[in-house]
Every structure is written in C-alpha cells, then in structure tokens.
Symmetry: C3
Subunit: 354 residues, 3 copies
C-alpha cells in the first residue's frame, strides 16, 4: 500500500533537541525517535519485543533506550543489551531500527529494506539552511490520505476558489491562467503557471509597501516522490518582462516546501516551511506570511478532510478527471508503478541451459 | 435494505429559507438541499463528481451550485454546466438529482427510480396548513433504526410505563384499555383505543382549566409506509358519549404527525408537529404542549437508543412478540414485502411458443 | 474465548445496598444485578426478551424486576410472570438468570453452565471479613484484556521500573532479588521473593514511624484461576531472621486481593482491597495506603492500556518470553487448557460391541 523503499521526512530537527523522545506513527508503524548522547538520531520500533510496551514510555540512557516496564535496554541498532536479573541475552532479542539521515534541518527516515537505503537519494532542500531565505518551519496533522493533499497541490485552479481571499486573490485566476507547461518526469511532475498584470493576492499584499500595484506572478511547482512539494513563487512589477527572465528591482520571491508523510492510510503528517528572500531581518514578515499560509492551509484542510470522509462513506465512488488533472494523474501513475515494482516477487533465476 | 421507491420527508420548508443549504444524509446517501433563485427546491448528490468534495461547501448561483474546490458548476438537474479553464464539458459529467415536491410545508424527496416518482402518492398532511390547528414543527435526531421508532408508536401500552408521568397518566392504562380495533391495511395499520373515565394525563392537564375532571380519551393512530405516523387524540368530558360520536362542549382534540426518515441503518431523522384545535391565538398552549411532548419523546429516545445498542451488541438476538405486537408485526411485514418487490429482478420475457 | 465455567467476582456487596441496580457487562454479556426484597442477590440477562430493552431501565418489585418499556415482569429466576393487558404468558418466556453466591463481601457469579456451578469451588477470601485486617475495597476499570493485568502481577521485576518511587523503592530490586521459588500449580501459580536489608519503599515508609530503618521484605503472590491475585507482604526489621520464620516486634504485614473479571476481550473490571494488620483503629493508615496503592495502580494502568493499543494495532505481533516470565507462561497455559476442555465437544458414546 505504501512505498516503503523511499526516504520520508520523519521530523524537523528542532523536535528532538534536549533529549526529547518523539513517538510518531509513520506508514502505520509506530516509531520512536530520539537524539542520543552521541548526537546521532536513533529511530526504533516503538514496541518492546518482550511484552509490547511502548519504548516511548522509557528512558534514554546514552544512545540506548530502556523499557520502563521490566527494564530491558536497547541500543541504537535496536539490539537488547541488558535484561535486569538475567545473565544471558538471546542474540537476536531486539527491536527494529530504521536508517536515519539528518540533513537540511530535516530528519529523514527509510521505512523499507535497509540494504537499499542510499543517502544520495535524499533530495536537497537548500533554502532551509540558506541565510538569505527566512521562514518558520511548522507541522500540521491531516485526517486524510497523503495523496489527497498531493492532489490538491497538483492543480493551482483551486487557488481561485478555495483561497480566493487569502492565497489566490481572485476567481479570475482559474479562467485566465493556464499552466505554461506540465512536465511529466520519472519520479516527479513540474508545473509552471503565470498570472499577468493582476492585483497582489492578500497574503502578499500584507507584507509589501505598494499594496495595489499590479504584479506578474509566476508559480513553479515540483512534486517529488513520495510527496514532497517545492513551490517557487515570484512576484514582479507588472509588465517588466519577468516572463522573459528580466528581473527588476522590486521583484520578490518565495520558496515553499511541503512534506506529506503518511501516518496511516487515512492520516498524514504535514511538515512545511514558507520562506521569503526580502525580509532583511524583519521577522514580522515571516510571521505574517506564516499566519497567512496557515490560514490558507486550513482552507485546504477543510476540503481535503471532507473528501476523505466522502471516500470512506462510499468506497465504490470513483472520481472523474478533468483537463486540469494531468499532473495529478501522472503522479498517481508514478506512485502506483513504484509501489508495484517494490512489491513484485523477485523473479526466479533461470537455470543455465534450460 | 431500504424502501427507495417511496416519498420521504427530507426537511421542513422553513429549513431552506434565505438560500440556506442543508446537507442531510438520507437512506445513507448524502443529499444537498437548497431553494434556488426560481424558488424551486433542488436536491443533488452532495459530492462533486470531479474530486468528491461536498457540494455543501459550495455556493448557490441562481438555481445552480458551484463546487468551491475547483469551481465546477452544476444546475438543478445535476448536470455540470461549467468547468473554469476548460472549454468542452463532457455531456454526462454531473451528479445525481432527486425528485422533490414541496407540499404542506414539507419537502418530500424520492430516493429511488425517478421514473416511478408520482407526486399523487404523497399523503396529504392537511392539519399542517389548516389555520384551525396550531403547532410548532420540530426535529429530533435518533441514534437508532427508524423501525424501532415505528415499533414504539405501534403499541400504546408503552404510554403506561415509559410516559407514566408525562403523556400516559397512569400504569392502569396498560391493564384496563385495549385496542378497539387493529386494522391491517395494505400499506398501513390503524389502531383505535379508548381510555374511559380517567384523570387527564399531565401534559393535557397543564393546558386546560379543569385539571382534575375525568375525561374519556380516544387515540386513533395510523402508520403509513415508510414510517409516517398520524395520531388523532380526543379528550371528552367523561360519560358524555364521545365513543358514540356525541361531541359536547369542552371536548379538545390533538393531531400529531411524526415522520421517521432513515439517515443510516442505525440513525433516523425524526420530524414532528403536535397540533391542538383549542388555543384560539394563545401561543402558550402550543409552547407548553411542545415542551411536554418533547419531554415524552426524550423518554422514548432513551429506550429506543438503548435498544439499538443492545441489538448492535448481539446481532443473534431475536425479539419475542406478545399479543400487543399485532400492528407492529403487520407493519414490518408490509415493509419487508415492499422492499422485496422493489429488489426483485425483473422477470425475463417468456419466449413466444416456448 | 473466556472460561465460562468458573466463579467470577461480579461486584462488591456494598454496591447493591438499598435497592441499587447495577448493570455490568461480564464476559461480554450484559448482566443486571440487584438485591431483591428477600435479601438475595439476583443476576439476570439485562435485556428484555420482548423488545430487547435493558432491564436496568426497569423497576425492582419484591424479588422481581419490571421492564419499564411495556411492563413485562420477571422473577429472580428470569421467568416472565406478568404481561400487562395479556392473560396468558407463554411458559418459556423469560430471560437468562445466573447462579450467584454472596460470600466474604463479594458477589460471585457463574457465567457458564448452571448445572456445573458448585459454591464449594469459590476460594475463601478470609482477610476481607477478619476484624484484624483493615482496608478499603475499591474498583478500577481497565481498557485492556484481563490477562495483561494478570501478566503484570506475575513478574515482580516491574516493581523496580514502573513503581520505583511508589511501591517498588529502587531499581536495584530487579537486579538483586529473584524469586525463591515459582510453584506451578494445577489452577494457580505461587511466587515467593525476598528483598533483604533495603530502605522501606515509599508507600510503606509513609505509614510507619521509623521511615529509614532498613527492612527485610517478603512477597508471596498467588494467582488463582480465572485471575484472582492474593499477595502476602511482610516487612521485618532487617536481619532479624524473618526468612527463617522468626517474627519479631515491629514486623508489619499486608494482604492484597485483586480480582480481574473480563468485561469484554479488551476491557476488565478490576476489584481490589489492600489490607494491613497494624493500624489499630487509625483509619488514616488505610487511607494513606489506599492512595499509595492507587497511585501505583495508575502507573500499571498506563503501561497495560498502552500494551493493549499496541496489540490492537498489530495482531501479528508476538511477545518474546524472558526468564522472569516462568509463572506468567504457566498461568496462560493453565487458562488455555481449561478453556479448551470447556469448549471440547462431548465425546460420543461408543456403541457396545463396535
């Protein structure tokens, strides 16, 4: 059901400071995350192999965690290294551990076969640690399948109706703009869309001085497997040729990362950060944008969680695609293909000479 | 499971004034009800055919409703008439619409095959618009199958025990009165029951001047398919021959309509109005009766919702009928027969000469 | 799934004084308990045979209970003895009744075949009515299978970790003490464990004058089918030879009864009383101990209810036994065997000469 052989965002790094244990269900597995004494992040199956007690009720000791039910101690690889009152420990006593990489302020986890986990496959998220870009990383919980959130991000037409008064700006957006291009990549889609000579949308107008000067707006959205969205937004003074690559004074840009990590098949961890390149130390710009984007996300959340309820109520319902669903449809195909490949039985070796 | 080829009460007309949208699950289908600009009530499947978003999050435009997720517009027949940003609309894109009749302040809906919907089959509810009868239409939600409420109304003996101190008046009622007649009709039952020379029950005593004068009480209850109850109650001064048709000064009458519309197999919309013919403009009579009846309904609700829990806990439990269950048993047979007929496969045509 | 042919604790006797009706689900059957006029405790299926209404919404009349939906009256054996408005009562109309024995302030119930119910099989609980022992009987509800609570009591090592600062006293307990003996009995296990020359654990220190004088602590725990735990605790001044049977001045003892009665396969009624032999009329000793023990029980409850959630989340998970689980494993085997025997089909009689 899930693509397991893949890197997922498990947490922001700030969630694990000062020995805090985070118990988080990822792809329907309960995982305990913590940073041990050595500074390395440990990810273990959150279930003692002895009686099933959650290790998140336990205690960190160095890079180990002790189950506080009967005192078994597990190291960072999940191996049981102490049973109080018992000398011999069976060699294979332990819990599952998960490959972890900490990078760009993100804790990445590999939920599938550890032998296939290659840190080189982790996408770079450069803006998160670039001092020129300012934002406030945050988290939302969704009672909906992660792909419904991916779908939402795949069609910008929803900006016009769901976000008219927040992120969108006008219903006209849906009628007069179309994607310049929809690129169907092997493990992603990429959409570019321009909206020329229109009023700045409310969230942007709040943080700029000339609130009514018309702008040319460009959105480039890239959705990566398994549900990582990178949006590059540019607002240029209208008519200055931004669409031809001419970047003039007064152009402002945003970078928006959104990470959809399945909690269960019906709920999702949603990590995000919305960054700007123009606040120059004025943190109120970030704060205003954070609030505006959150307001928009709650507008999405209402629709997406209602969608989930509608689908739950009638599993026989099938959606109908419209022209705007090209990128959505492509991404679902990509995911289906990768999951099918992952779950395919290994082909038997052919006997020589047969 | 449900009788679909049948008219059900979907709403009171007052629920739809001023462009209010009502999303209501009926027979396990989510339906959007609204009154468009033309004044006609529209009933549509509450689920956009595109991505499944509830249309009840949408916006009324004339006699149409616009899905506010990606902007698709549906007319009163459910046909999609606009897709923002897309020229051609596939001919069969749309959502289901339901036949509606507005009559006697009731919005009636047909949940089955529209070709079979005949407004002439809708029962008249004359007292609801007769100025001589005053009442306050209202609504209750039940966490119980609609037939458990129908059953409750089928045996007046429960008045003696459930409603001793409210609608019943005494436990003696169960021992000394019996139905004069139980009529088993093709799509209904009709029960007539008299209680002679007893104190007025509390709810009635509250709204009359001579609170202790004995009365002769007559109840005639008619239950129509699929669960519409009409109760005609008469209180005459005791011994004045009401049972022989002699109606004297001081006789007071009530009309009680109750509509049980399945929400799901385990929950019910319960619409009701309790009317009197003697308040002569004193609205406090209606208000007192409304409160008294509601108090009684909550007494029923406690038992009926507990019954549902008992049945849920043990699906193997089967009830045992007693003598008083004649009308109840008849009505269940009527419903079973109608549902079986509805679901029967169309008989194949016999080959000529075979 | 349950051992039905067995006596279970259904209630404390104090719960049924003054005509109070207790509706309690036992082994997934809803049972109504009450003390009739004669003083005998009656236990009936809590579901009227007529329409399934809970009898707990009814009214006690003598040793009978009347269903307050339509007035059917049931006697203490469950037989229907009156139907208001109906002369003849079908002979077998009635509800199930359960054998009951009231003894040692406990209401014992037999949930299986009444023909096999022998009061002689009920274990004596002598301390509950012995004036030398003082305690406060109480009740807790668990959202967990009863055997998870049994398991918890089977391994005292959990005292060291779960109850370090309440009932245990130190983590050292888990490392330095071991059971003197684990007796595997036919319908029970018995464990004896000593902890020599240590500080009194916090709950005990609170109620004694010399709070830091080292003690020798002995626990003897016996677990009886189907989940009845009797703990005999002794604290002697350290080094006075209690382990050799030498009982000196200043020795204090506790008796702890715990009764695990399944409500459902995932929830449990937990009755308990913790008694001391030294308060001599100072009820504050009992009260302090009651609070301390309850504090400890909530520490257990946290782990045990989390365990249940972990097991629910993954029915394929199987626990791994460690050396300390000997008594736990034995008891599970005893229960499995008794349940299998109970559910075995009666062997057919062999035909003579076949």
């Amino acid at each position: 059901m899930f693509l397991k052989n893949c890197w997922y965002m498990a947490a922001w790094d700030y969630e694990l400071i000062d020995g805090k244990m985070v118990a988080r269900t990822l792809l329907e597995e309960s995982v305990l995350l913590f940073k041990g004494e050595s500074g390395a992040v440990v990810a273990l199956e959150n279930r003692c192999c002895h009686r099933g007690a959650p290790l998140s009720l336990g205690r960190i000791e160095g890079d180990c965690v002790r189950c506080m039910y009967h005192g078994l101690l597990f190291n960072g690889e999940g191996k049981c290294v102490q049973i109080p009152g018992q000398e011999k420990i069976p060699a294979k006593l332990g819990v599952r551990s998960y490959p972890i990489v900490e990078q760009d302020h993100i804790v990445w986890i590999w939920m599938g076969d550890p032998a296939l986990a290659d840190p080189a496959d982790i996408p770079d998220m450069p803006y998160l640690s670039d001092p020129q870009w300012a934002g406030i990383p945050d988290y939302l919980h969704y009672d909906a399948n992660y792909l419904l959130i991916v779908d939402n991000l795949a069609d910008f037409a929803h900006l016009a109706f769901v976000h008219t008064n927040t992120l969108g700006g006008s219903e006209e957006y849906a009628y007069t703009t179309k994607p310049v291009s929809v690129e169907r990549l092997e493990r992603a889609f990429r959409v570019e869309r321009w909206h020329m000579n229109s009023a700045p949308p409310p969230y942007h107008a709040k943080v700029i001085p000339n609130k009514t000067d018309p702008v040319d707006r460009r959105n480039i959205g890239t959705m990566l497997v398994p549900g990582i969205f990178c949006l590059e937004t540019l607002f240029a003074p209208a008519g200055t040729g931004a669409e031809k690559g001419n970047i003039v004074e007064g152009t402002r840009q945003y970078r928006n990362y959104q990470f959809m990590t399945p909690e269960t098949r019906k709920s999702t961890h949603f990590f995000w950060s919305y960054m700007n390149d123009f606040e120059n130390g004025d943190r109120n710009i970030s704060r205003s944008l954070h609030d505006s984007i959150l307001e928009g996300f709650y507008e999405d959340k209402l629709f997406i969680e209602e969608q989930q309820k509608v689908l739950d109520a009638d599993p026989d319902f099938s959606m109908v695609a419209i022209a705007a669903d090209a990128s959505l449809t492509h991404f679902r195909r990509v995911m289906d293909k990768l999951i099918a490949e992952q779950n395919a039985p290994t082909p038997p070796l052919r006997a020589v000479g047969a």
